[in-house]
């Protein structure tokens, strides 16, 4: 059922399938009450509440075994072939569509996206241009203003910086400044992002630079399915669209439908529904996130992964629904820290969904450095799955000081020498919140080596030390992490 996630209507809700915890299991979930910091407690602590349904599939799309491939509907192809298929279908459908770019004609495109098109449509319609990005982008603008629908390829997105004036002032503005008399239905596309040792100038994330330009739309494709759909949508759009492809994703293989389909340029894609945290990503980082998701699921977390796809405008509807559900957001991007897509998305979510956030938004991006050539350095400039896992775990520690609903300070006799603070969390968090984050305060007590767990209904059930230590892995005990037999915690369950 998770295969359905890639379809064109990401608004389909899967939450019904994943209502992992019944009410009773919620109520027996341990709540540790204490003092300053809240810590995540996952379902794995409870031997009996292994949330099996949620962990069923960490990844969304499935690769079928080759044995059954022949009988499956659709056809299998690589991402660059899908882009070509989309482009070819549009060129067949509309004779005004033409392609400009360096080596798109006879060479077939440096990433083979336009292979065979020049032979089919002629080398005027699939035009080889000189190495003059500003000129041929301007040419695309002029052609578009006279009624053609050019698809302009930048051999590498970074080269389009030379065409910035044409893209920003003319593509973006001429529709507006002419009072709507001229339209610019261009598609500007090309590979960008950090590749394998391509050097700093060829590893750029131009979505950062373009996102402010009014009048254009930005989309990033990440799978074979959405590459074809977005290419077709971009060509059909009356607005100038910049389609960001990624150098390392061209050889992805996937099975896509035979029927024609066009995706929406403004919609995000629900990759993996979840409950604990919303992870927003796009392009290649989607795969790093999904890899991290596998690890996270094994650790008992349930991340919701959304591929935002539309970089301008953001699909705040899908994102908002997710934030309202999970209350925590992690953005994983390849852009640089300053001024990237993540920075804008952070601002947009903060502005619109501040009330629903339980924690500050965390944005994992590349450092503000030119991409180094050395392979090891290059790898660490890009966000890796391990960092994503660590960030999710970190995000699930929340300061509850602002969420304190009631404080109770029962004091024991001075001989017992401990104090506890109780925080009543059940009123604040709905049953759907899986990661209950809790504070506790450990104080040494002389003669107890076990964790006392008292349920609201049943008092007195307790845990052995073994459980307690395993549990404490996830627990921030303040500065002193050494637990001895003499420490104990009071735990209450709801």
């Amino acid at each position: 059922m998770l295969q359905a996630i890639g379809v064109a209507s990401p608004s389909v809700s899967f939450s019904d399938h994943y209502n992992k915890f019944s009410v009773s299991s919620i109520r027996s979930f341990p709540v540790i009450r204490s003092d300053s910091r809240l810590i995540s407690v996952s379902g794995s602590v409870h031997g009996s509440f292994k949330p099996k349904k949620v962990i069923a599939k960490a990844t969304a799309t499935q690769t079928e075994s080759s044995a059954s491939a022949a009988s499956k509907p659709g056809h299998e192809l690589l991402l660059f072939e899908a882009l070509r298929e989309g482009l070819e279908e549009e060129m067949d459908r509309d004779p005004r569509v033409c392609v400009f770019g360096e080596d798109v004609g006879h060479y077939g495109g440096s990433y083979k996206v336009t292979k065979g098109l020049a032979e089919k449509y002629g080398d005027l319609r699939v035009l080889d241009t000189p190495i003059a990005e500003n000129s041929f982008t301007g040419m695309g603008v002029g052609a578009a203003m006279t009624g053609l629908r050019p698809v302009i390829e930048g051999m590498n997105m970074g080269f389009l910086l030379l065409a910035f004036n044409q893209i920003s002032d003319n593509c973006g503005m001429l529709h507006y400044t002419s009072g709507g008399q001229f339209t610019i239905p261009t598609v500007i596309r090309g590979p960008g992002g950090v590749g394998r040792q391509l050097g700093a100038e060829h590893s750029q994330r131009l979505e950062s630079y373009f996102q402010s330009i009014p009048g254009i739309q930005l989309v990033a494709c990440s799978t074979v399915y959405n590459a074809k759909g977005l290419m077709k949508a971009a060509i059909r759009s009356e607005n100038p669209v910049v389609l960001f492809e990624h150098v390392l994703l061209y050889n992805l293989k996937e099975r896509i439908p035979d029927e024609e389909y066009v995706l929406s340029l403004e919609e995000a894609e629900m990759v993996r529904p979840g409950e604990h945290i919303t992870i927003l990503t796009y392009s290649r980082m989607r795969y790093h996130v999904m890899q991290a998701a596998k690890t996270l699921v094994n650790k008992g977390y349930d991340p919701e992964v959304i591929d935002i796809r539309s970089l301008k405008p953001f699909d705040l509807y899908t994102i908002g629904n997710s934030v309202k559900k999970t209350h925590r957001v992690l953005i994983v991007e390849e852009c640089m820290r300053t001024g990237g897509i993540g920075a804008s998305l952070t601002a947009a979510i903060n502005e619109n969904f501040h009330d629903y956030l339980d924690a500050p938004i965390v944005c994992l991006s590349s450092q503000d450095v030119p991409t180094p050539y050395a392979g090891t350095l290059e790898e660490w400039t890009v966000v890796q799955p391990a960092q994503i896992v660590a960030a999710v775990e970190q995000l699930c520690l929340i300061h509850i000081s602002s969420y304190t609903h009631s404080l109770a300070f029962p004091t024991m006799t001075s001989s017992s020498n401990w104090r506890r603070k109780l925080f009543d969390l059940s009123m604040k968090y709905s049953v759907q919140t899986r990661l209950l984050v809790l504070n506790f305060y450990v104080k040494k007590r002389k003669n107890l080596g076990c964790l006392r767990v008292s349920e609201a209904e049943n008092l007195g059930s307790s845990w052995k030390v073994g459980h307690y230590e395993k549990f404490l892995d996830r627990v921030d005990v303040g500065r002193d992490r050494r637990i001895s037999d003499e420490s104990w915690l009071e735990v209450e369950c709801y």
């Binding site: 004609g105 053609l148 002032d169 403004e266």
Partner: protein, 455 residues
């Protein structure tokens, strides 16, 4: 099919990459002669060494070139003509020459640097003398009375329009203006030589073309005042006219952005196989910042046919553009026309050009070299124009303009919603929200909001 008109201070440039016509060599029976870069062999305008305006490729060269390379793709065939042209070399010996893209390159044992400047500058084609007399022996395209009178009247209208709008800016009635004073001949004569199907990509000093094509004084005023009758809906500065029905692309302020776009328009016309060309204009700012002999010599550097013409001579400009247009459409190649002229006015209302040029120089070009005066003398001599008609015209234009300004001033400004329209084809949600937010702000602070913008 494109013409690029560029002024040094005005120059024209034609761009046209299509080649289909070369497959019928029998149509072409002219001879051409090669122009080498360092040649000082330019004779008179009708001399042998010039490529005359209606020259096409020599038959044999064309046919053989194409036969040799008929399997090469269309887009590279333009290059072949260059190669064939240079193929009849003196050095046929293999050891003395080398095949190189663009033709054979012969070797020399003399180390000779090509001079940075030719001995003689490229001469300038002109037909009318300063006194308005036709220069003997000049070849030009004859202009009939109706066209000539229309041309003159348009030049006068343009001049008066410039004066009055400039004054209006000085009075604070419009925010900005830019005159074409001194360049009226280029504006009008070029427009007259083109058809209404030819697409214009202006820099910003070519409103005369719009005027010729029927843009009314009221429409000019509307754009300058940015009212709701402006086709641009008040979204651009004054003088940034644009009209798709007149095939006049909306002006964009930065210099030379329209030049690559012209290539795109040419491409589009070529795809549609239209009998039309595109003309892109640019001035010194776009071309002449360097130490070459203007931009006309750069034509050859780009493999583009070029000519230098006297931009203040309406007849010469007319003939040149007519010829260039024919060449461009039939040969499907670009042509560069450098029209020498002088910008009499300041760059714009934000400029005081007396700071960087002498006042008497301005005066000289304004009076002694005025294109209007020169053309008027010629039209007058032909008996096609009288002084009475002159004063009547001037009075009438002036009145129309003042009226247009008054009407434009009173016309409502575009409504607030237009601020958000045309960014995209449909209003996206974020702009919708921003509009809502703006309206709320306005509602709360009504007194701070201008009263003449309807909500």
């Amino acid at each position: 099919m494109a013409i690029w008109l560029s002024r040094s201070r005005k120059i024209a440039h034609f761009l046209n990459p299509k080649i289909a016509y070369f497959l019928q060599p029998e149509d072409f029976s002219y001879k051409i002669h090669v122009n080498y870069v360092n040649s000082s062999s330019f004779r008179t305008l009708s001399g042998e060494n010039f490529r005359s305006p209606h020259a096409f490729l020599d038959n044999s060269a064309t046919v053989s070139a194409l036969q040799r390379r008929c399997r090469r793709p269309e887009s590279t065939r333009a290059g072949e003509q260059v190669e064939t042209r240079y193929s009849d070399d003196d050095y046929e010996d293999e050891n003395q020459a080398m095949d190189f893209p663009g033709g054979r390159v012969s070797f020399t044992h003399e180390m000779k640097f090509i001079s940075e400047a030719a001995d003689k500058r490229i001469p300038c084609y002109r037909v009318l003398s300063d006194d308005g007399y036709l220069i003997a022996g000049s070849r030009f395209e004859q202009v009939d009375k109706e066209t000539a009178v229309k041309m003159y009247k348009s030049m006068v209208t343009l001049q008066i329009m410039d004066n009055i709008f400039y004054e209006a800016q000085r009075q604070g009635r419009i925010s900005f203006y830019l005159t074409s004073t001194g360049e009226e001949a280029i504006n009008i004569a070029a427009a007259a030589a083109l058809t209404s199907d030819d697409v214009i990509l202006p820099q910003y000093r070519e409103p005369g073309i719009l005027l010729w094509r029927g843009f009314t004084l009221q429409e000019f005023a509307n754009q300058c005042f940015g009212n709701n009758a402006d086709y641009g809906k008040g979204k651009q500065m004054p003088i940034h006219y644009g009209s798709n029905k007149h095939n006049f692309f909306t002006i964009s302020s930065p210099i030379a952005t329209q030049l690559p776009q012209a290539a795109g328009v040419a491409y589009s016309l070529k795809m549609d196989k239209k009998e039309a060309c595109v003309v892109a204009f640019t001035g010194d700012g776009g071309t002449k910042q360097f130490r070459s002999d203007g931009v006309v010599v750069k034509g050859q550097a780009y493999g583009i046919r070029s000519i230098r013409v006297d931009g203040n001579d309406a007849l010469a400009v007319y003939s040149t553009i007519r010829a260039a247009r024919e060449m461009v459409i039939h040969e499907q190649k670009p042509v560069l026309v450098e029209a020498l002229s002088y910008r009499v006015g300041h760059h714009s209302t934000s400029d005081d050009s007396t700071k960087y040029r002498p006042v008497d120089e301005i005066e000289h070009w304004k009076t002694a070299r005025s294109p209007l005066a020169r053309f008027r003398k010629w039209v007058h001599k032909n008996g096609w124009w009288t002084d009475d008609e002159e004063s009547e015209l001037r009075g009438s234009i002036r009145k129309q303009l003042l009226n247009a300004i008054q009407v434009a001033e009173k016309t409502e400004k575009p409504q607030l919603a237009e601020m958000f329209s045309d960014v995209y084809d449909n209003l996206p949600s974020n702009l919708h929200e921003q509009e809502k937010s703006l309206r709320e702000t306005i509602k709360r602070h009504r007194q701070d909001y201008p009263t003449d913008v309807p909500l």
